[in-house]
């Protein structure tokens, strides 16, 4: 009788890539649900189109680049969902489809596939759309206007007020619950926090990156406040725009963030600083996308310089 002979260990945990991705999809569902309630079935259809385009693109990549079927790891579903959540519901479906395909094929596939891409695919997809069709991305439907794109009155989000600079009219509670204009997935802080809490409790993401990111934004907007009410300015900065979605779901993307504990904190602080700088000095009111993409580029360097202290050595000692 012959038995299987392979290297130890001979037992494995039940965790796998597909389960992790499925949990991220679950964590995004409350946010998507609020988006659909606020902006209508159009938001749902846009998300479905984006996901479908991502999955088809992943399948093509599997056939042409990886030579194996990688659809089942579900990472393309996450990318498609995340991209849709960064878009206003009024974006034409074909625009979302192009963004998804670009994210999966050029950013991830040409980057070497899952885990090897330097840039967050969803955010890189959004950056591309911003370059070609900004007109669709900076017009936000107001809450309660559930018509099609033609009927929609493009309105300013709280973040636009803040660029004046002026404090927005919406209450904190409206912003917390998502009763404001904006992109599908950025309006409801409560849903985003609930999803992220689920991932943190499951041990899938660490609290380091979001805490460092949001903490930095809070400190900087408090110290360099542009509002009459310093605290209110800070709160609106945290609740407005895409910083919650970015800090909780984009900056925590495994492939494009550091693996060392210290590195994760540095990375989060970097994202926070760049976000505030872009918001304060940039052309557009929002800066999260470019802040995270820039920090993505630094990840390998951050990991290399924040390697854990070697076992048996003291702090700062090099052996």
């Amino acid at each position: 009788m012959k038995f299987e002979v392979t290297s130890s260990p001979h037992i494995r945990s039940k965790n796998n890539t597909q389960k992790i991705m499925l949990n991220v999809v679950f964590a995004l569902l409350p946010t998507l649900l609020v988006g659909v309630v606020r902006f209508g079935t159009q938001a749902l259809l846009l998300t479905l189109v984006s996901v479908a385009a991502a999955v088809v693109a992943e399948w093509i990549c599997g056939m042409v680049i990886y030579h194996r079927n990688t659809v089942k790891d579900l990472s393309s579903v996450v990318t498609g969902m995340l991209l849709a959540l960064t878009l206003p519901s009024t974006v034409p479906y074909w625009v979302a489809a192009i963004g998804s395909a670009f994210a999966i094929i050029l950013v991830k596939g040409f980057g070497g596939g899952l885990g090897k891409n330097v840039f967050n695919p969803a955010l890189a997809g959004r950056a591309l759309l911003m370059l070609f069709w900004p007109v669709y991305l900076i017009r936000y439907p107001q809450v309660g206007t559930k018509g099609n794109a033609v009927d929609m009155i493009a309105g300013a989000t709280p973040l636009h007020h803040m660029q004046m600079p002026a404090l927005p009219e919406e209450s904190f509670m409206d912003m917390f619950l998502g009763n404001i204009g904006g992109c599908i997935g950025e309006v409801c802080t409560l849903a985003l926090l609930a999803g992220a809490a689920f991932l943190i409790l499951k041990g899938i993401i660490s609290v380091r990156i979001p805490a460092a990111y949001l903490g930095t934004v809070a400190v900087l907007t408090f110290v360099f406040s542009k509002g009459d009410n310093v605290f209110a300015w800070m709160m609106y900065s945290l609740l407005g725009g895409g910083v919650m979605l970015g800090a909780l779901f984009m900056a925590t993307d495994y492939a494009t963030s550091p693996v060392t504990p210290k590195g994760q904190v540095i990375y989060g602080i970097g994202c926070g600083i760049l976000t505030v700088v872009f918001r304060y000095f940039g052309l557009f009111p929002e800066g999260v996308t470019y802040a995270i993409l820039l920090m993505n580029a630094c990840v390998w360097a951050i990991d290399a310089y924040t390697a854990p202290r070697r076992f048996g050595t003291k702090k700062g000692e090099t052996v």
Partner: protein, 435 residues
């Protein structure tokens, strides 16, 4: 619960499979195959020839340096001296003895009821003559460890962690013979004269802890330390960290931080050697896993074939997938049942197809960092894996690849099912070749 060492994982311990039944004595096999390699270091030279009659406990192989003698585990006739399959997968020189079932004892070793008058060197010599090695599986010469630790040990640690899943042989030994282990500790204490003496055990061994507490009632010197269960707490560096808080620097031994660690079974055999005049001729072996009919702990003579041993445990089930000498995290997979038990064989595991399901095909690394979190040596397995695949020795050295203790936590936890330890092991080999 507070973690006392870095990283680690907590797999289902599955100890109940073998710990819930009585330890069984088994009928001795017709033949025993005794490898000359049962320790770290050069193999023993056989001291007997084909046709010789040997007694149980008679020295049949010896050598120099790290080499520790081996003894006949049954009385009978030497029928062959040839290469046979070893648990490490290679063929090693073995002495094969036909059992005469008389168990005629060799009485050359003296039993000392009172060992207090023995000198340190005498005790160390007895330990060597009895063929005692690290019985937890490391099989390093106990006499050498004791002799080289003599002047530097502040903390003596008895390792009863048995942190690998399934294995319960140390647990059972402690339940049955706690006083033998403690007496063995007192003997080693006489040699090393440590300031602190600790028996470290994990909190999943309730019955053994109770037995030890009872045996320790009037004991002042030996301190029982119950640690929260977590793998690989029984690894030497991790146990020293958990008990003393000190980290052993890369490439160094426990004595560099004033500690010495011995497995509890090693102490029990030390007691047997000094007080009973018995060399190592048998050991308790856990036979467990989902693919064996009667899991449990069995006393086997050294040199019992795996085939005979598994038969005594009711034989294999049809769903058998892997047979492992040692634990599921660090043990050696066996191609067949032709190998024989050696001094360090704490268990024979028969794993079923069920576990195969979890070892899926390798997927790309998603950089989740689970391996970094799990590594008890604070390494970055994902990068060691990547550079190992590329054969980049400079980067492997920079990332301290030689610090890896091959505990398997990274591979266990990896959601992409990457064979991290395997690649890192190859990387270590490359680095060694360059040095």
């Amino acid at each position: 619960m507070k973690r006392l060492f870095f990283g680690g994982v907590h797999p289902a311990d599955k100890k109940e499979l073998s710990a819930s039944v009585e330890v069984k004595m088994t009928k001795e096999p017709k033949q025993v195959t005794i490898p000359m390699t049962q320790h770290i270091g050069a193999p023993c030279e056989p001291l007997v020839a084909v046709g010789d009659t040997v007694k149980k406990g008679q020295k049949i192989g010896d050598g120099k340096g790290l080499c520790v003698p081996v003894h006949a585990s049954v009385s009978g006739t030497v029928v062959a001296i040839e290469k046979r399959r070893h648990i490490n997968g290679t063929d090693e020189l073995c002495v094969i003895i036909e059992n005469d079932y008389k168990d005629t004892e060799d009485t050359s070793m003296i039993a000392y009821d009172d060992y207090s008058n023995l000198s340190d060197d005498q005790i160390i010599e007895i330990i060597r003559e009895a063929g005692i090695v690290g019985m937890g599986g490391a099989t390093f010469a106990t006499n050498v460890k004791a002799a080289t630790s003599m002047e530097r040990v502040k903390t003596l640690i008895a390792n009863a962690c048995e942190c690998e899943p399934y294995i319960t042989s140390d647990d059972m030994l402690l339940r049955m013979y706690p006083e033998r282990v403690l007496e063995g500790m007192r003997i080693i204490c006489q040699v090393l004269d440590p300031e602190r003496v600790v028996l470290a055990i994990e909190d999943n061994k309730k019955e053994a802890i109770a037995a030890l507490k009872k045996a320790l009632v009037n004991e002042k010197k030996i301190e029982l330390v119950v640690l929260p269960t977590r793998y690989p707490q029984g690894a030497e560096k991790q146990l020293v960290q958990a008990v003393t808080g000190s980290e052993i620097p890369g490439g160094e031994l426990p004595k560099s931080v004033g500690a010495a660690v011995f497995n509890v079974a090693t102490f029990a055999y030390t007691y047997g050697a000094v007080c009973l005049g018995r060399p190592v001729t048998r050991r308790m072996v856990t036979i467990s896993g989902e693919a064996v009919n009667n899991p449990g702990n069995y006393w086997f003579r050294i040199g019992t074939s795996f085939e005979y041993a598994v038969e005594q445990a009711g034989g294999l089930k049809d769903n058998v997938w892997k047979v492992i000498a040692g634990g599921p995290m660090m043990g050696l997979a066996q191609q067949d049942l032709s190998a024989c038990t050696i001094k360090g064989t704490s268990s024979i595991l028969c794993l079923s197809e069920e576990q195969n399901g979890e070892a899926q095909e390798e997927n790309p690394c998603i950089r989740c960092g689970a391996c970094v979190k799990a590594c008890p040596m604070k390494l970055q397995p994902l990068y060691l894996h990547a550079y190992g695949k590329k054969g980049n020795v400079d980067e492997l050295k920079r990332l301290n690849v030689m610090d890896c203790i091959e505990c398997g936590c990274c591979s266990y936890t990896c959601p992409a099912k990457l064979h991290l330890v395997e690649t890192i092991r190859e990387g270590k080999k490359r680095v060694k070749e360059e040095m």
